[in-house]
């Protein structure tokens, strides 16, 4: 039956399939390339076939001991990446929800101004203020610390915005009913805002985890110590175009992917519900 609807549905699927290929393609390409020797990759560039050096490359990465005192190991890098990723995610989510709560529910006079100031920070990504941020970090003694890597990435206005838009959709009467039931500002935050925002929180947590996890330039500037190497910097160390480098790229993708799987029910529910 080729009703217009069936045609349309077929067309939709075609678009979606193309989208999936477009998004998954690079990862598949990286994975397949990670089974080739560095020499093959250097000579013939990326590979679309299975190369048979899977074990070689991955075991080389997993047993890596690099750096001045051999302190750059995969486990150490993973630990650093997790500290940075989770640190950025936790702090970003926490500050976002608190600041959005403040600008939406506490109608102080300059709330609108504060919100727009927060939003303006979107126009100044970390890369645009490296020098100043470095000076501030240095004067606070944050060079070569995890905090130094984490803190500058925490100011993410997008989280505040995301929460604010949601809070604005909550009916006024919800707050009023809660007030009449004896809720104060702190209780309302704990009993209502946090549970109602779970799906949002999951989404913001994942996004900011990725931001922290994928940081490259800033950690490079602020940390010179081998002990602070993250996985992403490790790729550079091993050589991103080598076989083991490809293997490390794949390994680096895995933890955020697992996090996404764990949170997907909540995070995708939000996106789904909002479309309705």
């Amino acid at each position: 039956m080729t009703t217009p609807q069936a045609l349309r549905s077929g067309y939709n699927h075609l678009v979606l399939i193309l989208g999936v290929i477009f998004l998954v393609g690079p990862i598949a390409l990286t994975f397949l390339s990670s089974t080739h020797t560095s020499a093959t990759l250097a000579r013939d560039s990326l590979q679309f076939s299975w190369g048979g050096h899977f074990l070689d490359n991955y075991s080389r990465v997993l047993t890596l001991e690099a750096g001045f005192t051999d302190s750059v190991t995969p486990l150490a890098m993973l630990k650093n990446s997790l500290i940075v990723g989770l640190g950025v995610a936790t702090l970003t989510t926490g500050f976002s929800i608190l600041s959005a709560y403040a600008v939406v529910f506490f109608r102080f006079k300059i709330a609108a101004l504060v919100f727009w100031l927060v939003l303006v920070t979107l126009l100044f990504p970390l890369e645009a203020r490296f020098v100043n941020t470095f000076e501030v970090a240095a004067s606070l003694g944050l060079i070569n610390t995890h905090a130094g890597i984490i803190l500058p990435a925490v100011a993410a206005a997008i989280g505040t915005f995301f929460y604010r838009q949601y809070f604005l959709t909550l009916p006024e009467e919800l707050l009023e009913a809660a007030i009449m039931d004896g809720t104060g500002p702190v209780k309302f935050f704990i009993d209502f805002i946090i549970p109602l925002s779970w799906p949002r929180t999951a989404a913001i947590f994942i996004i900011s985890f990725m931001i922290g996890w994928n940081q490259y330039l800033w950690p490079l500037m602020i940390s010179t110590d081998d002990s602070l190497y993250t996985l992403v910097r490790g790729i550079r160390l091993i050589g991103p175009t080598s076989g083991p480098g490809m293997a490390l790229v794949i390994i680096t993708i895995i933890p955020p992917f697992l996090l996404l799987l764990a949170f997907q029910k909540w995070a995708f529910n939000t996106l789904h519900v909002e479309q309705k």
């Binding site: 009467e173 009023e176 809660a178 007030i179 004896g182 109602l196």
Partner: protein
């Protein structure tokens, strides 16, 4: 002892809008008071001031003798049912009903008992573990009621609690609310602009117009003895018939119509004659005639709408009136009916200030 007392209550919103312009009211313990009035007249504002959701610009409100102007909403011992229910979406029905009790430090056993009892009373026992999204409108309304009931407040406040329900459910819930209120004997204030709801629920009605109490009294009292044109036209369905008239010392005159049998009315002012549709009867020797425009069949009775023939036309428009007749009376469109006027029930108002003169 007075349940709720309002003295000189005024509300001016920060933007300068004066929503309530001086209200004095004494509500007895256990009374069911209904606020009615047109949209924007300040009903909700007044109710929300009692609830503590709006500050009181001027005047005093007291509950059981205690002035509550500065008391927080939670400590006023009032519970409110909102128009859109305002249930907590992330809590079960039981959670919704328990929450306020928990905050007040009731013990688990106590909460359990109160919730069970209220649930039984409202027949929501089967849904206690569901979320609000999984309930129908009527069930949600019941849960909202339950949340108010379990708190055993001194005063119930309702802001148009039934206006999101369909007509049939509305009637059903109306009866249920009245029954519950009787049974619990709690002072209640109920806001609505549905005048059937107002008439049927209220012990006393307060008709509000532009931030002031226009008249307050028992529903029948307001129906039979409205003190102003506004109250007369607001109470009663179908609406009272209004005919512009003047008094010549002996008769009420409107165009070609002259109605005798009136005394002691001002002769120097424009007047308005008000006659309820029930007080006009078909009668061969009637003093006035109606040209039928529309017949509405309501089952037990029919409503006939049409032009009052010969009445003083205002700006070229004929005076529309309505009469109530029995089921069998089905006149043809454009037929002319002779009507008798029950003069003992006629109301006369001054046109300029709306005050009643007869």
């Amino acid at each position: 002892m007075a349940g709720v007392e309002l003295t000189g209550v005024r509300k001016i919103y920060p933007n300068g809008a004066e929503a309530v312009r001086g209200v004095d009211m004494t509500i007895e313990h256990g009374e069911f008071i209904v606020f009615v009035g047109p949209s924007g007249c300040g009903k909700s504002t007044l109710l929300r001031m009692v609830a503590g959701l709006e500050s009181i610009t001027e005047g005093e409100i007291s509950i059981d003798g205690r002035i509550i102007n500065e008391v927080s909403p939670a400590d006023r011992d009032v519970a409110m049912v909102f128009q859109n229910y305002a249930l907590y979406p992330h809590m079960t029905v039981r959670g919704n009903m328990s929450y306020g009790l928990k905050n007040r430090g009731n013990s688990k056993a106590e909460i359990h008992e109160k919730v069970e009892e209220a649930a039984k009373m409202l027949r929501i026992h089967d849904f206690l573990d569901r979320r609000p999204q999984q309930l129908s409108g009527g069930q949600r309304q019941r849960v909202a009621m339950g949340r108010a009931i379990v708190r055993e407040p001194k005063v119930f406040l309702f802001d148009e609690p039934l206006s999101n329900l369909d007509a049939k459910l509305r009637v059903q819930m109306r009866i249920e609310i009245k029954r519950l209120q009787r049974r619990m004997d709690v002072t209640s204030i109920y806001v609505t602009h549905d005048q059937t709801e107002a008439m049927t629920l209220a012990d006393r009605l307060a008709v509000i117009n532009d931030g002031r109490i226009e008249q307050m009294g028992a529903p029948l009292e307001l129906y039979n003895n409205p003190t102003t044109l506004f109250v007369a036209s607001f109470i009663g369905s179908p609406q009272i018939n209004l005919v512009p008239v003047v008094f010549d010392g002996d008769k009420l005159i409107s165009g070609d119509i002259a109605l005798s049998g009136f005394k002691d009315l001002p002769t120097d002012a424009d007047l308005v004659l008000g006659i309820r549709p029930d007080d006009l009867t078909q009668n061969g020797e009637g003093e006035v005639s109606l040209r039928v425009d529309l017949v509405e069949q309501h089952g037990a009775e029919n409503l006939i709408y049409g032009a009052l023939l010969g009445a003083a036309a205002e700006e070229g428009e004929e005076t529309e009136i309505c009469i109530k007749v029995d089921q069998q009376t089905l006149p043809k469109i454009d037929a002319t009916l002779k009507l008798g006027v029950n003069k003992s029930r006629a109301l006369v108002f001054r046109k300029d200030n709306g005050q009643r003169v007869l």
